[in-house]
Symmetry: none
Subunit: 215 residues, 4 copies
Amino acid sequence: MSDKPPRPRGRREAMAEERREAVLEAALAEFIASGFAATRIEDVARRADVAKGTIYLHFKDKEALFAAAVRAEMAPLAASLAALLEDDAAQPKATLEAVLEALLQRLTQTRTGDVIRLIMSETLRFPEVTRFYRDEIVLPMMGRISALLQRARAAGELRTPETADFPQLVIAPFLLVALTRGFDLEAVTGSADDLLRVHLANIFRGTPDPRTSSE
Amino acid sequence: MSDKPPRPRGRREAMAEERREAVLEAALAEFIASGFAATRIEDVARRADVAKGTIYLHFKDKEALFAAAVRAEMAPLAASLAALLEDDAAQPKATLEAVLEALLQRLTQTRTGDVIRLIMSETLRFPEVTRFYRDEIVLPMMGRISALLQRARAAGELRTPETADFPQLVIAPFLLVALTRGFDLEAVTGSADDLLRVHLANIFRGTPDPRTSSE
Amino acid sequence: MSDKPPRPRGRREAMAEERREAVLEAALAEFIASGFAATRIEDVARRADVAKGTIYLHFKDKEALFAAAVRAEMAPLAASLAALLEDDAAQPKATLEAVLEALLQRLTQTRTGDVIRLIMSETLRFPEVTRFYRDEIVLPMMGRISALLQRARAAGELRTPETADFPQLVIAPFLLVALTRGFDLEAVTGSADDLLRVHLANIFRGTPDPRTSSE
Amino acid sequence: MSDKPPRPRGRREAMAEERREAVLEAALAEFIASGFAATRIEDVARRADVAKGTIYLHFKDKEALFAAAVRAEMAPLAASLAALLEDDAAQPKATLEAVLEALLQRLTQTRTGDVIRLIMSETLRFPEVTRFYRDEIVLPMMGRISALLQRARAAGELRTPETADFPQLVIAPFLLVALTRGFDLEAVTGSADDLLRVHLANIFRGTPDPRTSSE
DNA sequence: AATGAATGAGGTTTCATTCAT
DNA sequence: AATGAATGAAACCTCATTCAT
């Protein structure tokens, strides 16, 4: 999203590249909407305003298209995670809050949440994509959070020190948010923002109560 | 299929019922293994040791078979939830612990976790199944936990009182356990049992630290 | 042609077998008429009065259909060759005449000639079929003729004794007959029957002149 | 494609002609290797180091390309046949031997044999090419050989006078050599050279025995 | 009630050909 | 003249569903 390959030289190639991206865009939308099997190449072509054959100029087959579409959407997330991994200086609690807030935003306001759900849906057919997601996104993310938690534990900031051994516990609610799209759960509970605050309060000592600081 | 006993009355119906169940059993296994689209009726038939046509004697079409298979597996869970909903007398914290422990066992030791994952995978194609799952399982579960949490809050047992408004927070880690089957996450973290204990310690006041009982 | 598998039991299977044969029959006709690539499965289906899918009940794919069709047609020839290989008693010249006459009849009056041409046409795409043809038909045939020629040489019946080392020389004109179907060569030369007689006269000593018995 | 000289006039046409020939060359190689249907225009283009579209500047369509490629290869043969047709003076037997020897060389040492096989393979799809081959090559060749045989008959040189009516008999072994490329027949018989000598000995009176002149 | 052969709609993929650059 | 991205018709093959036995 930030760094595209430096614009291919020549009009022809530029247009081809644009089309390739239009196809990826259309493919992702269709896959999200219908899943892998129910998405027809023709649907993707129509949405990208391109002929069926054109898709095969850029992608070997439907599976390759799927993998490419998912990757294209997830790569920025992987990149921004990598960026976060660099500034280890900040204080753990504040950093973790920032990270989780950013993640929540991504999940609720972009297609990232849908893509995560898509990946988990098609895990069986695409072990390779799943592996990419696990290795490039999940494990780094968990590693990052693990490190932060350990520093928080050292600083005595964790309510339960052993939380540092289970980074999943910290991420779990966000996964759930991504996966229950369309479940209308918010109708019966509070907002996603409040959920984040309560969650942090459970994990970190001295986090002020979400709404009332004194009780 | 091979040995037909001289069909006394009553036997016929019993056998038909047996076959129906064999088909459901086989269907569930195949759907879990391959997903809806990639499962072929013929595979189900072979696994159930039944002819293809027989399946259509019991189920209108592939979608009906899917719905029935999922329902059959989830019904006991719904029932046991209903049972839990009755004995409201017990003390909230202990009850919640018992419920979550039971849930964790179901998720890790039976096919229930796989089925939940299957449902979430096929949500797009089966809004009806998803609705069943949401209405019969998820919402009652969340309601039950909500009630427990509210009593816990009244008893001052919650670390963060607002947790009572977000029952998802309590369930989230379990969903995650179900959905990340095959992700090998346990390889990089602690065990599911410890995860449960740490999770409870974060939520409930006075829960002894998972390993060290003195604080 | 002579020994079919002993009629499958049951009406259903019998009809299925009939259809399988109808498909083979239709396939061979279409392949002969259009070659492998230009023959459409749908054409075969229509000619066999069968649905497209039915063909795939019996044959894995188009290539398997081709191989089966060719084999079915050539198997009888292979069998009759095997039969000829048994009665080694007869005198070489007369036997060879009989063999070649039979071969010529097959080539001109049945589809065998067309099939041989078909095989040679599709040699590139079907090394396996070609191998079958080579191993089951060509080499045995050549071996048989070789043996006959050697006995003829021993009896001093060959005009050129070394002919015994080149059984191809004896067969070549027949191959040519098969392969030049549609070339209208007979329009500019004599008949196939006379060709055979002249050919034999060239090879065997003492064969009477084709037309004039006195020299 | 890579180095364009500053295009002086006359050069353009020369280069165009060069490309045309490169395309023909590449096309023939691909057609021989894969047959008509399985050869892709893109393969030809790549082999000729030319863009796909360029081919269509020179040839109307794939069929025209095929016809042109075959013609280009066979034209020299037709021409040399025409040359042979002129010097009718020579003595028949020696001439025929020379002709056949030349033909055998062409068939075994150039691509001519492959092209003949290609033509016969695609006879069904290309009656026009086949007609060209028949009219420009086969019939003249047979006419020439016929004439020679008749003079040989008049000179009493034929073992069987009627051979003169069947020029195919004389050519047949050579066709067979061309068509059985890849059959490994030589592995089980003698060499092509010896085959020629034996063949001639069968046809011509007084041809010395292939290896031993006295017996 | 059970079977499994038959059907044919539907989807993926290929590739000859075109045409804007 | 040359390019090669784009097109879309055409063909293979799959598989849910039906129905005669």
